[in-house]
């Protein structure tokens, strides 16, 4: 059975292919189109997946879309009616948006792929999240918590999943919170208030929060009031997102908190405004964490289960995830590499296979590397054309050379194997550097990432050494597999890991399992043999405003335009040579 999963139209569109119950490949459209957070119908991703599976569209048994468009439209229309007459500006825009394309998903899929209509299926948004989280986790029985901005109506669901001995699978969502009462929208609203792009800048709020004090916690708790059954009720007088396409927060919020930050305003943490922004970030982060921990704790008591699968965009909040692991009573917390909408392509396909077609469950390979493979030959060819001297080295020599260069303070662009699914670079499309000094962080910010100084960089460490450097609770190593948790750096190592230790002494680490990423693991070990600390700074291989690189040529382009010293794609290595970049007179 061949099932194609698709997510599209809001943010992060993607496609995933399942053959006989096992994922073959999955990729976000942005990695191929090179438009960050590309939400367009993922035709390139679909074509690539079909090519990988050597399939024609008519050979697919099912194409599953990750949400139910008519149900979503019902919510949009209902909210416009509820907000009458204040929604008069947003209504035409919303209708044009929906009627102009997003509503007609079935027709789009049929016309683009030529598949029969009866093979086009629709999985509910949060069911897709739940399936992505549960069916890809190494567990047979788990509680499930999904939370994001909004799907059709649901914004947060609590449920459980089970796989029986015979492989039959059940995912049961027990309760849900409905729009407009949404933890994701609460966080996004403050993301917008703080001048960051919504659906993209939320992790900046999390980073900024560490610099502030939660002085507005009381206000936030009034804004997001807890209900007796453990849910939340947003006081909508502070928001505009439910009745406006342009503004997420109301004038009342601005009157209470002061002027919002403009996107181009630098955040100066020494200034009063800078401290206010940090305090606002700390407050919303604190409230989010407390609600999530409480919800997870109640769910654990209710289900009595040991494992929790987290899905939805809110599951990208590593600080909250770590608190859930420590405080909720669950022994393991599983977050997939793509808990947001991109991962729903895989989730919808898995849901259709296991639940709709009732096929027996098969464990999903426990790694995030489902995308296109970097071509070492492409890098060698292009680099040679441009006057560089690329080297092709056996793996052991390549790792020795790269570890030497990293130990000398060089910054390395590292591309190995298949591209990751999800927003994190997990060792296959990473920029690597020595993690020991603040100066390295500043250098990366200044010459490569061009990003705000308050944002931390992440460390990667072999799983077996993680406990030595980081204070991991039981299950922490697992949560850090896909960089989904933020944990304290042990105080005695903070000075030696200064470039990856955030201001509050924590780090969003990745624990590298040798079986999952052997080359990356070997590089960490080799670096440890030289420096005594097998930890590297690992940041996504992209420049500001661009998606993570996919092909070797895109890595090369990033290398040419930034302060990266050394580029590796597969077994091909190129060292920065400024004379090779000079322009000839003929130009």
């Amino acid at each position: 059975m061949r099932v194609l999963g698709i997510s599209a139209h809001y943010h992060d569109s993607a496609a995933a292919l399942l053959v006989d119950g096992e994922p073959v490949c999955a990729v976000q459209e942005e990695r191929l189109s090179r438009r960050k957070n590309d939400a367009a119908f993922p035709l390139s991703a679909i074509e690539w997946c079909l090519e990988q599976g050597r399939l024609e569209p008519d050979q697919l048994d099912a194409v599953v879309f990750y949400e139910k468009p008519m149900l979503k439209f019902e919510r949009i229309l209902t909210m416009a009616l509820r907000g009458f007459p204040r929604t008069w500006r947003s209504f035409p825009r919303a209708m044009q948006n929906a009627l102009g394309g997003k509503l007609w998903v079935k027709g789009i899929i049929r016309s683009q792929l030529g598949v029969r209509t009866d093979r086009i299926l629709f999985c509910e948004h949060h069911q897709s999240h739940a399936a992505a989280a549960f069916l890809s986790a190494p567990t047979r029985s788990a509680a499930i918590l999904t939370a994001d901005g909004v799907g059709e109506w649901a914004t947060l669901t609590l449920g459980r999943g089970e796989v029986d001995e015979d492989g039959s699978t059940r995912i049961q969502l027990l309760r849900e919170m409905r729009f407009p009462h949404s933890l994701g929208m609460l966080y996004s609203t403050f993301t917008a208030y703080l001048g960051f792009p919504v659906n993209e800048g939320e992790y900046k709020v999390m980073g900024l929060a560490a610099y502030g004090n939660p002085t507005y916690e009381g206000l936030l708790k009034r804004i997001a009031r807890r209900t007796p059954d453990g849910g939340i009720a947003l006081d909508l007088s502070w928001f505009d997102f439910h009745q406006s396409a342009r503004h997420s927060y109301s004038r009342k919020l601005v009157a209470e908190l002061g002027p919002p930050r403009e996107p181009w305003d630098p955040i100066d943490l020494q200034s009063a405004d800078g401290r206010r922004y940090a305090d606002v970030a700390a407050s919303v982060q604190r409230v989010l964490e407390e609600i999530l921990v409480d919800l997870a704790r109640r769910l654990q008591r209710e289900t009595g289960l040991q494992d929790l699968c987290l899905g939805g965009g809110v599951a990208l909040n590593g600080v909250a995830n770590a608190r859930i692991l420590r405080e909720s009573g669950f022994r393991n917390v599983y977050v997939p590499s793509a808990p947001g909408d991109a991962g729903c392509a895989l989730g919808a396909a898995l849901y259709a296979d296991r639940i709709h077609f009732a096929r027996p469950h098969r464990p999903v390979a426990d790694h995030p590397y489902w995308g296109p493979v970097a071509d070492a030959g492409e890098l060698s060819r292009v680099a040679a054309e441009d006057g560089f001297q690329p080297l092709r080295l056996p793996e052991a020599e390549l790792i020795r050379r790269v570890a030497d260069e990293l130990a000398r303070g060089r910054i390395v662009g590292w591309m190995q194997g298949a591209c990751e699914l999800g927003p994190r670079a997990l060792g296959n499309r990473s920029i690597l550097a020595a993690p020991h000094q603040h100066a390295m962080r500043d250098r990366l910010n200044r010459s490569i990432k061009y990003r705000e100084e308050f944002r931390p960089f992440a460390p990667a460490v072999p799983l077996e050494h993680a406990d030595r450097y980081f204070e991991l609770p039981a299950g922490g190593g697992r949560l850090a597999r896909f960089m989904s948790g933020v944990f304290p750096v042990r105080p005695e190592w903070r000075d030696k890991l200064a470039a990856v230790t955030h201001v509050d002494g924590t780090a969003r680490l990745q624990t590298v399992d040798q079986a999952m990423a052997p080359a990356f693991h070997a590089l960490l070990e080799a670096y440890g043999a030289r420096t005594g600390i097998p930890v590297l700074l690992n940041t996504s291989f992209n420049l500001a405003g661009e998606p993570i690189v996919n092909r070797a040529i895109e890595g090369y382009s990033t290398f040419r335009r930034s302060g990266i010293d050394l580029l590796v794609a597969g077994d091909s290595l190129v060292v920065k040579d400024h004379s090779a970049q000079a322009l000839p007179e003929v130009a």
Partner: protein, 245 residues
């Protein structure tokens, strides 16, 4: 090479002067230009990734670096202006002063090297003319004027290299490529106007429906909303995957 503003821009000079007179509006426009330049830098980097011609690749990388530097310069000047003046006026008249390629949607993947060079040449030419007129009307702000003058030097390089490379790659058809690029720009402009007009008409039509057809349903929806309980609801009973509801 000296860059002259177009005749139209010369005619509209008083309007340009008015648009650029307000320092807060000026700051906002510079931020918009910064974004456009940064987008342009990404387009050019993509062009460098896609071309098979090593010389073009180097030139596109250089061009991309220039555009990124311009973006940083525009943003920096915008920040300085806001820091000294505070924020204010929202009206920016972007239709009049859109910045470099501000209104042209470039799809690098769909362009051959020759047509891309022709497009870039025309686009740089137009931008240079516009930047020249901005520099002329900014007599009250010598720093911003100096910024435009400095960027103009890069624009001249961009105009020159795109023309030369077009001549190298397409020595016989360079004129045709330029005319095709001009026609493409006119067609894009027509599509923009048509799409904008259609959007306005659709907007008006939907707004009328909103006020004439929806009030009764709105009342019902509001009444139903009041009956909704706070907090959790039972999860919606799953519908078959064949259903869109």
């Amino acid at each position: 090479m000296r860059v002259e503003p177009s005749r139209l821009d010369r005619l509209l000079k008083p309007l340009h002067r008015w648009v650029w007179a307000d320092s807060r509006r000026r700051a906002r426009k510079l931020f918009r230009f910064a974004k456009t330049e940064a987008d342009g830098a990404r387009d050019l980097a993509r062009a460098a990734e896609l071309t098979r011609d090593p010389l073009l690749r180097r030139l596109y990388f250089r061009h991309a670096a220039d555009e990124q530097r311009h973006a940083d310069l525009f943003a920096g000047r915008g920040r300085d202006l806001l820091a000294s003046q505070g924020d204010g006026g929202r009206f920016e008249a972007n239709w009049l002063a859109p910045g470099e390629r501000g209104l042209d949607d470039l799809r690098v993947e769909q362009e051959a090297d020759e047509s891309l060079l022709a497009f870039l040449h025309l686009s740089e030419n137009a931008a240079a003319g516009r930047f020249a007129v901005y520099a002329e009307v900014l007599d009250a702000d010598p720093q911003t004027r100096a910024l435009f003058t400095r960027i103009l030097e890069d624009e001249v390089f961009h105009m020159t290299y795109t023309r030369r490379q077009l001549a190298r790659l397409s020595p016989r058809k360079q004129g045709l490529r330029l005319w095709q690029a001009r026609a493409g720009r006119v067609w894009s402009a027509y599509l923009r106007v048509a799409a904008a007009l259609a959007a306005v008409l659709g907007h008006v039509f939907l707004a009328l429906q909103y006020f004439f057809l929806l009030p009764v349903f709105a009342l019902l929806a509001k009444r139903a909303a009041r009956k909704e309980a706070e907090g959790f609801s039972g999860a919606r009973r799953p519908t078959p995957l064949t259903s869109q509801y």
